[in-house]
Amino acid sequence: MNNERIQLEAPLAPDFQPVVRLIIGGIAERVDFGFEEIDDLQLAVERLLAEAGATGMVSLTFDIGEGHVRTRVGPLSERSIADALQNESPPGELTLRRILETVVDSFGVDHAADGRIVVRLEKLRGPA
């Protein structure tokens, strides 16, 4: 498969989360992700967007390659997300970082010049 990119600008309002989930499902299906892998990626983006607030717009970029989907979410002005992702999770607490550690293969935070952040998520297809 050639590397392809899909860019999407979507409202952060919860009403539109199913639309984003559907699009992620369609993208992940193109790289033959299993049901659970699709669900994981959808959950990762969903939780991230929930932390980003409920108003305004958000940009999502999906880079699709052989057996993987790399997602960029942002720029986001919620700097607390960066803190939540960069600090170790306290024992027993279910933090955004712990959720992402479980459901995606890697994640990171890029800092934009204007002080906002972009979150990177990478999900790989499991063994067939």
Partner: protein, 254 residues
């Protein structure tokens, strides 16, 4: 009259057999007696499950959920109780089924064809997971159900729609129930999570079953398929409960 008497005698004999099996299980720890009790009362579960058929959920899923209620009833039964196991188990089975529907209540009006596709998807995913020894792809699910990947995705999405209103509200369809079935039973399962003092308050407000599912997923790192096996639910149902629980926790923090 004779037929009625014979039925009554048969019913009394069945009740005595149940009590003997319950005694063997609870006093002697005989797990084969527990299995026999489950087997004997599965027809009751099927009968109750059928009352909830045609509501957009596969009958086999409803039976599976009802069986969990039966097992809980058998485990909780106190031998001193002067009540038959069938009478005691009925509200447990119905309660479990109703909770399942509450968890899943459709938040939006969903076309019947998609509801039906969603209902058949759970079984298809379970079958394919066993057959392939991995989570099936959307294309494989579509092949199994003789539909398109786009339809599968859409049906999955409408299936994942849940209503926070219906979760906090009363159970649907109470008008169908006799008073006995509306008697609730406290959920004593999944007590392990109760003891985890370190858990955040928002997590502690979740029902024990949901807490345990989150613990298995995010602490043990178990995949949904294994969690589904452990708690006796379908993978799709586990997925929904995880999403719902995380959303509820987030709401409590805001």
């Amino acid at each position: 009259m004779k037929a009625v008497s014979r039925k009554a005698v048969g019913s009394e004999r069945a009740r005595e057999q149940d009590r003997e099996l319950l005694r063997r299980y609870h006093q002697d720890g005989d797990t084969s007696a527990r299995e026999a009790l489950i087997e004997r009362h599965l027809p009751l579960v099927r009968s109750l499950a059928r009352r909830y058929a045609g509501r957009g959920e596969a009958l086999e899923d409803i039976e599976q959920v009802g069986a969990i209620g039966l097992i809980k009833a058998i485990d909780r039964f106190e031998l001193e109780r002067d009540v038959s196991l069938a009478t005691y188990a009925t509200p447990n089975v119905v309660g479990e089924i109703k909770r399942h529907f509450r968890d899943k209540g459709w938040a939006i009006r969903v076309p019947r064809a998609l509801q039906e596709l969603n209902a058949s998807m759970s079984g298809a995913i379970e079958r394919l997971t066993v057959k392939l020894s991995r989570s099936p792809s959307i294309a494989e699910i579509a092949d199994e159900l003789e539909t398109t990947p786009e339809q599968v995705l859409e049906a999955l999405e409408v299936g994942s729609a849940y209503s926070t209103v219906s979760l906090s509200g009363g159970p649907a369809g109470d008008e169908d129930l006799d008073p006995l079935e509306t008697i609730g039973a406290e959920d004593e399962g999944f007590q392990r999570s109760e003891d985890r003092a370190a858990l955040a308050p928002a997590l502690l407000r979740l029902p024990p079953r949901e807490r345990e599912i989150l613990r298995m997923r995010f602490e043990e790192g178990l995949p949904q398929t294994q969690i589904a096996q452990r708690v006796g639910l379908s993978q799709m149902h586990v997925s929904r409960l995880i999403r719902k629980s995380l959303a509820e926790m987030r709401e409590q923090l805001t």
